[in-house]
C-alpha cells in the first residue's frame, strides 16, 4: 500500500500492458499515473513527487535505462522497478548496478511484482526522509560564515584551538568565538555531535 502522497508512475509504450498493470496496482491499493513514453514522464512529472517508477526497459525513443540515468541526475530521483518482456541477464545486472530497485519480466508472479513495488516505495520514503534531513542540514550549514567554515573543517581534523589559531593567524579567543557561534547555528552541544552532523551533511572528514 502506498503511503499517502506516494504514487506509482508507470511508463510503458504498450498501451494494453499499461492499462493492465495500472488496474492491478490500483486494485492493490496503489495510486497510479500512466505515461506512454519516458520523455512524456520526464516532461509531465511534478517535481518533488513521491513514489516510484515502474518502467518498461525496452521502449522506442528513450528506453528504461536512459530514463533511469536522467532520473538519477535530478534532485529527487525516484526508485525504479524495471519490467521487460523477456529478461536478459546482462541488461538486468546492468540495471541493478545502476541502482534499480528490481528487474522483473512482465509475466512475473504478482507477489514478486507487488513486493518490488512495496520495496521501492519504502525506499523512496526512506530516501525522502534522508533527503529532507540533508536539505535541513545543508540550510544550517549555509548559515555559517566563511571563517566559521574554515574553523569547522579544522575542528573536523581534530585540531586544538591553539593550533587552529596559529595556522589561521588569528587570536585563540577568536577561534573560540567562531566555534561557539557555529555550534549554536548548527544546534549541537558537543564536538562529537558536531562531527557526526558534518559527516551526515556530506562534509569530508579531512581535506
Amino acid at each position: 500500500m502506498s503511503k499517502p502522497g506516494q504514487k506509482v508512475f508507470i511508463v510503458d509504450d504498450d498501451a494494453s500492458f499499461l492499462r493492465s498493470i495500472e488496474r492491478l496496482l490500483r486494485s492493490s491499493g496503489h495510486a497510479t499515473e500512466c505515461f506512454g513514453s519516458a520523455s512524456e514522464f520526464l516532461a509531465r512529472r511534478t517535481p518533488g513527487a513521491k513514489g516510484c517508477v515502474l518502467a518498461d526497459l525496452r521502449m522506442p525513443g528513450m528506453d528504461g535505462m536512459a530514463l533511469q540515468a536522467k532520473l538519477a541526475q535530478s534532485a529527487d530521483p525516484l526508485p525504479v522497478v524495471f519490467l521487460t518482456g523477456h529478461g536478459d541477464i546482462p541488461t538486468g545486472v546492468e540495471a541493478m548496478r545502476r541502482g534499480a530497485e528490481d528487474f522483473l519480466v512482465k509475466t512475473a508472479p504478482k507477489e514478486l511484482l507487488l513486493a518490488a513495488i512495496e520495496r521501492a516505495l519504502a525506499r523512496d520514503a526512506r530516501e525522502n526522509t534522508a533527503r529532507t534531513r540533508r536539505r535541513q542540514l545543508q540550510s544550517h550549514f549555509e548559515k555559517l560564515t566563511p571563517r566559521e567554515h574554515q574553523v569547522l573543517s579544522q575542528v573536523m581534523l581534530g585540531r586544538r584551538n591553539k593550533q587552529i589559531a596559529t595556522d589561521m593567524g588569528i587570536e585563540e579567543r577568536s577561534v573560540k568565538r567562531h566555534r561557539t557561534n557555529l555550534m549554536r547555528k548548527l544546534e549541537v552541544t558537543s564536538v562529537a555531535e558536531l562531527v557526526q552532523l558534518a559527516i551526515e551533511a556530506g562534509m569530508p572528514a579531512a581535506e
Binding site: F17, R23, S27, R58, G85, V105, K106
Partner: protein, 608 residues
C-alpha cells in the same frame, strides 16, 4: 504371216500389255484415275488394232460396213478416255470441253448405230483391192456420210482441248509432260483425220488408227512409267527416311505420335507405344489415352488439346501418365496441327519425351532447396528468438495482470462490472495479439513446397516488419517503407520471399549494430522498373560493404559475423533466382549498404 498381220497384232499385244499393267496399278491406287483412263485407251487401241486387221481383210462391203460400225465404239472409248486421262494427268483442261467431247462422242455412237452402214459412210458400194506391204487388202468404195462433220468436229474439239490443257500445264511448270502428251495427241488426231479421209477416198485400206495411236500409247506409257518410277523412288526414300527417323527416335527415346482428329485415332511409334500402352485397338481414341493421364493433369491437358485445335499456337504440354509398366511417368509433348483449306483441324502430329528423370531430379533439387531454406529460416528465427519471446510476453503479461486485477475487482463489494468488462475485452485482444505472434513465427517455420502466387509487397513487408518489431526496438533501429500506390503484385512464394526480406533486414541491423552516433534507419523502396519487373531496394545506414567483398557477397559461407551461419545471403540469392529474379548489392554514396532485388510481376488472372 504377212507384215500387216504381224505389225497390227504386235500393236494390239503391246497396247493390251500396257493396259493390263496400268489397270493393276489403278486397282492398287484407286485414286490414281489416270491409270484407269490410260488403261481404257490402251485397251481401246488394242481392240482397234484387231478390228482394223479384220477390216482390211473384209470380203464384202456389208462386212466392211459392219466392222467399221463397231470400230466407232472403240474409237469413242479411246477419245473419251484420252480426254479424261489428260485431265487427270496434266491436271488441266476445261471441264465443260471435256464433257462436250464426251457427249459428242456418245452422240456420234448413237448416230452410228442408227445409220446404215455406219456414221462414216452413207453407202459402201464395193470393195477395192489394194496391194499394201506385199498383201492384198480391201479398201471401201462408197460415199461418205454427211454426219462425218460431227466426227471432224469432235476431233477439232479434242485438238482444242488438248492444246488448251497443254498450255495450262506448261504455264504451271509441267512443260515436259505438256509437250510430250499434247504433241503426240495432236499429231495423232491430225494423222487420224488425214488417214480416215484417205480411207474414205479409198486410198488406204483402213484408217490405220492402231498405228497412229501406238506412239501416243507409248508416250503415255512412258509418262506414267516415269511417274511410277518416281513414286517408287519416293517410296524407297520414304522407307529410308522412315528407318532413319525411327532409328533417331529410338536413340533419342523420342515418341512420335499422330492424332487423326477426324477419325479420332491415335498412332504412336514403337517408343511411344512401349512407353504407354493404351488398351484396346492399335489405334485407340484420344479419350483412351487421356484415361491414362494423371487425374490432376487430365483436364488441363484436354483443355490444351482443345485450345490447340481452336487456336493457332503449337501444342505443348507436360503431364503425368501411367506407363506401360504401371509406374507414373512425366511426359513432355509438342505438336502441330494440320488443317484443311477451311482451317478445319485434320491431324495433330508431334513428338513426346519421357522427362520423368528430369522431373524427379528437379523435384529432388527443389526439395533440397526447400529444406535448406527451412534450416536457414529456423536459424534466422533463432536469432530472433529473444525478440520474439519479448514480443510474446507483452500480451501474455498484459493478460496475466488483467486477470489478477479482475480477480481483485471481483472481490470488491459491489464488484465494478464496467471495469471487469473492459478487462475481459483487453484480455481477448491480447490473446489475439499473442496468437498473431505465434502465427507469424509458425508460418516462417513451416515446411512447405514452393508455391508461387501473386503477392502484395506492402503486405509482405508489413508481416516481416511485425516479426522484427521487437528486435528493431531492442537495437534502436527504425524501418520505413516507401512503396508507390497501386504497385503490381509480384509472383513468388510467400514464405520464401519473407525469408529473403528477413535475412536482408537482419543483415542491415547487424551492419548498424557496431556503429555509434548514427541514426539506425532502414528504408525499403519499391517500384516498377521495366516491363514485367519490380525493383526492391533495402538501404541501411550501417557500415556498408567492403568493396572487395561486394562481388562475392552472395556466395555461401562468407560471413563476417561471429554468430552468422553465412548462408543467409546465399539462400536469399537462390530463392530470388528460383523466382526468376536477380539480387545484388551496392554501397550508398552517403554511407550504408543497399541491397537490390528484381522480381517478376505476377500476371493478373483475368477476373472470372
Amino acid at each position: 504371216m504377212s507384215w500387216i498381220t504381224a505389225i497390227w497384232s504386235i500393236a494390239a499385244g503391246v497396247s493390251l500389255t500396257l493396259a493390263a499393267v496400268h489397270i493393276l496399278v489403278w486397282v492398287r491406287k484407286r485414286n490414281a484415275l489416270e491409270h484407269l483412263f490410260f488403261s481404257v485407251s490402251a485397251m481401246a487401241a488394242a481392240v482397234i488394232a484387231m478390228q482394223e486387221l479384220a477390216l482390211m481383210h473384209a470380203q464384202t462391203p456389208a462386212e466392211y460396213g459392219a466392222m467399221l460400225r463397231w470400230m466407232h465404239v472403240s474409237a469413242a472409248a479411246m477419245a473419251i478416255s484420252i480426254v479424261w486421262f489428260i485431265r487427270c494427268h496434266l491436271r488441266a483442261g476445261r471441264i465443260w470441253l471435256a464433257w462436250l467431247i464426251t457427249g459428242l462422242r456418245i452422240a456420234i455412237l448413237i448416230l452410228n448405230f442408227s445409220l446404215s452402214p455406219n456414221a462414216s459412210f452413207q453407202e459402201i458400194h464395193a470393195l477395192r483391192e489394194i496391194a499394201f506391204l506385199g498383201e492384198t487388202l480391201s479398201s471401201p468404195v462408197g460415199s461418205g456420210s454427211a454426219w462425218r462433220v460431227l466426227i471432224h468436229l469432235s476431233s477439232v474439239l479434242l485438238l482444242v482441248y488438248t492444246l488448251d490443257a497443254g498450255v495450262a500445264a506448261w504455264k504451271r511448270g509441267r512443260s515436259r509432260q505438256a509437250l510430250l502428251l499434247s504433241s503426240s495427241i495432236l499429231a495423232g488426231i491430225i494423222l487420224a483425220a488425214i488417214f480416215s479421209g484417205l480411207m474414205v477416198r479409198g486410198i488406204l485400206p483402213g484408217p490405220f488408227i492402231a498405228l497412229i495411236y501406238l506412239p501416243f500409247v507409248f508416250a503415255m506409257a512412258f509418262e506414267l512409267s516415269l511417274d511410277l518410277i518416281r513414286s517408287n523412288q519416293l517410296s524407297g526414300e520414304l522407307l529410308q527416311s522412315e528407318k532413319r527417323m525411327s532409328l533417331a527416335a529410338r536413340a533419342a527415346d523420342l515418341g512420335l505420335w499422330e492424332w487423326n482428329v477426324v477419325g479420332d485415332e491415335v498412332w504412336t511409334n514403337d517408343v511411344g507405344s512401349n512407353r504407354v500402352r493404351a488398351s484396346g485397338s492399335d489405334r485407340p481414341s484420344i479419350e483412351r489415352y487421356l484415361a491414362l493421364v494423371h487425374p490432376d493433369d487430365r483436364d488441363r491437358l484436354r483443355a490444351t488439346l482443345h485450345h490447340t485445335l481452336e487456336g493457332s499456337e503449337d501444342f505443348q504440354a507436360e503431364f503425368r501418365m501411367t506407363g506401360a509398366d504401371g509406374a507414373e511417368r512425366w511426359i513432355a509433348a509438342r505438336g502441330q496441327v494440320e488443317r484443311d483449306e477451311q482451317r478445319k483441324p485434320l491431324l495433330l502430329r508431334g513428338v513426346s519425351v519421357d522427362i520423368t528423370a528430369r522431373r524427379q531430379a528437379e523435384l529432388e533439387l527443389q526439395t533440397h532447396r526447400n529444406e535448406l531454406a527451412l534450416v536457414q529460416r529456423v536459424s534466422a528465427m533463432g536469432q530472433l528468438s529473444l525478440a520474439l519471446a519479448h514480443e510474446l510476453n507483452q500480451p501474455l503479461g498484459a493478460i496475466l495482470r488483467n486477470a489478477e486485477a479482475g480477480e481483485s475487482f471481483l472481490r470488491q463489494d459491489p464488484p465494478d462490472l464496467g471495469e471487469l468488462r473492459e478487462i475481459l475485452i483487453d484480455i481477448q485482444n491480447d490473446g489475439r495479439r499473442a496468437a498473431d505472434v505465434i502465427d507469424r513465427m509458425r508460418a516462417l517455420l513451416r515446411h512447405g513446397d514452393l508455391r508461387l502466387e501473386a503477392i502484395e509487397l506492402q503486405e509482405l513487408i508489413e508481416q516481416v516488419a511485425a516479426l522484427l518489431n521487437a528486435e528493431m526496438q531492442a537495437r534502436h533501429a527504425t524501418l520505413h517503407s516507401v512503396l508507390p500506390h497501386r504497385l503490381p503484385k509480384v509472383r513468388g512464394d510467400h514464405i520464401q520471399l519473407q525469408q529473403v526480406l528477413l535475412n536482408l533486414l537482419l543483415n542491415s541491423l547487424d551492419a548498424m549494430d557496431g556503429m555509434e552516433n548514427i541514426t539506425r534507419r532502414i528504408e525499403i523502396h519499391a517500384d516498377q522498373v521495366e516491363d514485367g519487373l519490380i525493383e526492391l531496394a533495402i538501404e541501411d545506414t550501417g557500415t556498408g560493404i567492403d568493396p572487395d567483398r561486394l562481388p562475392h557477397l552472395f556466395e555461401p559461407l562468407l560471413t563476417t559475423k561471429a554468430e552468422g551461419t553465412g548462408i543467409g545471403l546465399a539462400i536469399s540469392k537462390t530463392i530470388v533466382e528460383a523466382h526468376g529474379g536477380r539480387i545484388w548489392a551496392e554501397n550508398n554514396p552517403d554511407g550504408g549498404a543497399c541491397i537490390l532485388i528484381k522480381l517478376p510481376i505476377a500476371r493478373e488472372e483475368p477476373a472470372a
